[in-house]
Symmetry: C2
């Protein structure tokens, strides 16, 4: 099972690809960050994120995409940008018929470290150990993306099969849409 994890953000979007199955050693396939300039307008930044994510999907051909679930409760200042970046990641995956799973930060931390309240350093350390890396991936967004992919591989074999079936059914169906123009 090959999974692309995405830690969404307008300035830095962490991306990491992990391959493996639950109960066996996992392998890192790739890790990086899609960056956009803070002084560009939001619409253009979303285009850059789309290009970045598409390039990761083209290069690594994952079977699943796991995106961090964004909550509106905390960090109100940046939450809109995070929601928008996550929308682009979900869109890029779903457009290709790839199943998209959302995991909360606590689910990811709990899966990887055993505690839903683990800090960045603990997550980075566990990702390093689980993927047998020489050092924790940097920046933290990249490590978080790998943690998301690991969480997905471990958490939901049954959920994955269900989502794949849904995605396949959808590819075969006609899209629901309303469109009216008067000229």
């Amino acid at each position: 099972m090959k999974v692309l994890g995405v830690d969404p953000g307008l300035t830095r979007c962490g991306v990491g690809v992990v391959e493996g199955v639950a109960g066996r050693p996992l392998a890192m396939v790739g890790v990086g960050v899609v960056r956009t300039p803070a002084d560009a307008d939001v619409a253009h930044r979303l285009v850059l994120i789309e290009r970045g994510i598409d390039e990761w999907l083209d290069t690594h051909r994952p079977e699943f995409v796991a995106v961090e679930r964004v909550f509106s409760q905390h960090n109100v200042r940046t939450v809109m940008g995070t929601a928008q970046a996550s929308a682009v990641a979900m869109l890029c995956a779903a457009r290709r018929g790839l199943p998209v799973a959302l995991h909360t930060p606590s689910e990811v931390k709990a899966a990887v470290t055993g505690s839903g309240r683990a800090d960045k350093a603990q997550v980075g350390a566990m990702v390093t150990r689980l993927l047998r890396l020489d050092a924790p991936p940097k920046p933290a967004d990249a490590a978080d993306a790998l943690a998301l992919a690991i969480c997905h591989i471990w958490r939901a074999p049954a959920v994955n099969r269900l989502q794949q079936a849904h995605a396949a059914a959808r590819r075969a169906s006609v899209p629901v849409r309303t469109l009216k123009g008067t000229r």
Copy 2:
């Protein structure tokens, strides 16, 4: 000047195209709603919104796209979906090199009715009068999309020229992106 206004939402995305210039009577070119099923997963709904918006852009070829600016302060339950739908609308426009403008709900109400605190009925009534329609467009999301387009035509001729220049410069430039894969 032809403007597509988008009132973003996951369930109903209002879309309206208005043509004209400030100080002259305006004409409605098209109005409608892009809908997605509430029981579908978010990723798939974003794909349906993308297809809907792309079809409106293909059909009407607007020169500008005006999207309602989403705030995280109010209506926390639906704000994430609204932010995600607005991201898709901005992405569809910016990908074609179209300038994207964001207007707040109060800016739109103030432009169209004279009051930033106008209610839905007042906005609908003014849109009907300004575009010389037989009845207010329904649902309210469709009327709001037209109001956004009208607001954009009236508010910012200078801003528009600046944005067009930026968009043209961007089309000519190389995208900024970081991508690393280890396999």
